[in-house]
Amino acid sequence: MPTAEDAPGALDMDKLFAARLHAARARPYLATALFALHTVESRRVPTMAVDRHWRCYVSPVFVDRTPVEELAGVWVHEVSHLLRDHHGRGDRVARERGLTGPGERLRMNIAADCEINDDAFGDGLVRPEGAVEPGSLGLPAGELMEDYLRQFRLGPHTESAAWLDCGSGADGMERGWELGPDGAHGLSAQERDAVRFRVAQGITGRQEDTPKGWKRWAEEAFHPPQPWRELLGAAVRAATSGSGAGQDYSYGRPSRRSAGLPGVVLPSLRRRPSRVSVVIDTSGSVSDAELGSALLEVAAIARAVGGRRDLVTVLPCDAAARIVYPLCRGEGIPLMGGGGTDLRAGFARALRTGARPDVIVVLTDGQTRWPQARPACRTVVGLFPRQHAGRSWDEGDPDYVPDSPPDWARVVTIG
């Protein structure tokens, strides 16, 4: 085991590993990941850096001049890049937005650092000197790397970060000093997933003292949230196309091909576009912007599944539902209302309207009462998430807590 005394400039392993031990004690849920890193001494790294194969390159000079406290923070910082898959996400962003060149990769590194650093330090870990934080770029904390990337350019205020280089593990760009996929002691894709999975499991198992950013990561590490538009679209599509609604096969009318095959009973495809009722919660708690985007989305989906516009009706509803509008007037529907909501009125009104709908799509924030019995049609709920769950919204009954949407409805969380 070489120590600082052995040779001038040699890597002080004891200092480095004491820092790792402290990091693992301060953040027990990251211990598996910290220990899975393979350290490589390198004189060409400016500080410490990781590659996508979970090797950690360490500069002896950097270890020498950095206090152990700060080194522990750097360990956690570097392993966070890998756990949060910054290299994979960086590659994806680069492809989607057409970002090329080392300048863009440096921006990705800075954005990734912002995502990590806003809640990585404190609570037993000292913030390393020169660590980039969203605040120093004038950005709000708690956002993701992809969001930060939109919000700043390289300039005088990022100059202090120009020396910063966390390796290809942070931004996806291979460096000259990295060992590459064929080098020794790299982790394979499956091993990387296994380590990330263990850490995620550890975090979901111990909820109390983990920062919010890590909890969010653990929930989404293996189930990245899908865009709600796709989910809502799939739900409405599945509802409008199920048996009893819309197009499907029936023996009701002979097929056009029957003439050529006497004696054979051929089915025929008969199209009956589905009727869709959109019930919109217009209580004060749902913002116009949210409603507008969701309504547009439902209209687009209804068109895509072949619903004629006159078959889609819109029904604003607060404590009572009064008027039903056909979608052809979609642009001019007055979304008035405010105060409390009772969606039971909306359901009753939708089912009473002329031709019964095949599908009811409800757009709401869930601060409502729901019908007791399952209605005689499919139901899709687009739910605007609300932070203050559990708090009463009904002034007349302060103990009332809204029910969650009933289990006979397919629920898609919007936003």
Binding site: A31, E69, A194
Partner: protein, 394 residues
Amino acid sequence: MLTLLRDSTTEPRPDIQLEALTLAVAADLPVLLWGEPGIGKTAALTQLAAALDLPLTTVIASVHEPSDFSGLPVVGDDPAEQGVPMAPPDWAVRLVRAGRGLLFLDELSTAPPAVQAALLRLVLERRIGALQLPPGVRIVAAANPRSSAADGWELSPPLANRFVHLQWTHDHEVVVRGLGGTWPLATLPQLAAEKLPGAVDFARRAVCGLLAVRPGLVHRLPSNETRRGGPWPSPRSWEMTLFLIAFATAAGSSREVLSLLVRGTVGDGPGLELLASLDRMDLPDPETLLADPGSAVLPERGDLRQAVLDGVVDAVRKRPEKARWDAAWALLVRALETGAPDLVVVPATTLATLRREDWDVPATIEQLAGVVTLSRRADQVAARSAAVAAKAGR
């Protein structure tokens, strides 16, 4: 000109997607390939059929009617007496006559629900109308993901549960090189006859070992909107997993291939748990290590090494004897000589607390002095960090 353009060569190249597909087909499990349109799913199937020497029958599910899979009712002279037979389509008759082949059901997710229901019977019972598919016929289906299937229906959970789901993606390098004239030639996995009994035993131990301690994983319908239409765990899909582990083990396939297969059968969460428990099964047994600490080989990777050392200390705690305690110390010294010192701190601290009054401290413990210093150093760091935080808080 066209001949010139179509002229291309092949080169051997490992392809884990194709290897996973081949193994699932070899295990006679229905496979569902998920991929964007135009990504080369059909090309892969053509290559697989050629390699396995099976005739390929492609059926575009979305342009067929349910009766193409369940059979057309043909009214005879006396339906009351003879019944109405369900006549199968011509491709099915040819497939049955050939006795073997690869049936490729394309565009499954864009087929209407009634067609999917008819396909359920084809995939599960291997029946088309009155015909029974012979055992030599293998079934592979393909579907576009929901995001790109503009007018797609989603797969119903019962149908989804019967498939091994494989995500089909393209490799940038392969495409560029292929368009330049050289396509990869995948080497297909071969089952080694002498490994078969061991592989079956291993697969049974792996699946039963996990499900015994995690009964909640046996059956879990997808509740989340995101996971609909994908793989989910049920006794049926766990049995498929067991088959796949046995085949992958006998073929000597890598963990990457197995990971694709397992996660594609029971879903990401349960699949990863299974893979993690496989990693633990690979670790050396604590009792073997304690029996002969001198020749012990510890894993290189830090987190696995710590898991082994923790296991050793745990074994000593369960049956505390002087000889075992000494052997554990010898193992810790060995770990210190061959790897990072910080991994040894926790096991050493725990092992020290297991000491009985009449046990003498072994001489080897001297060599662990460095560990104690390291641990003390980390303690000092923690104290200093706390002091800094307190000062900042003031």
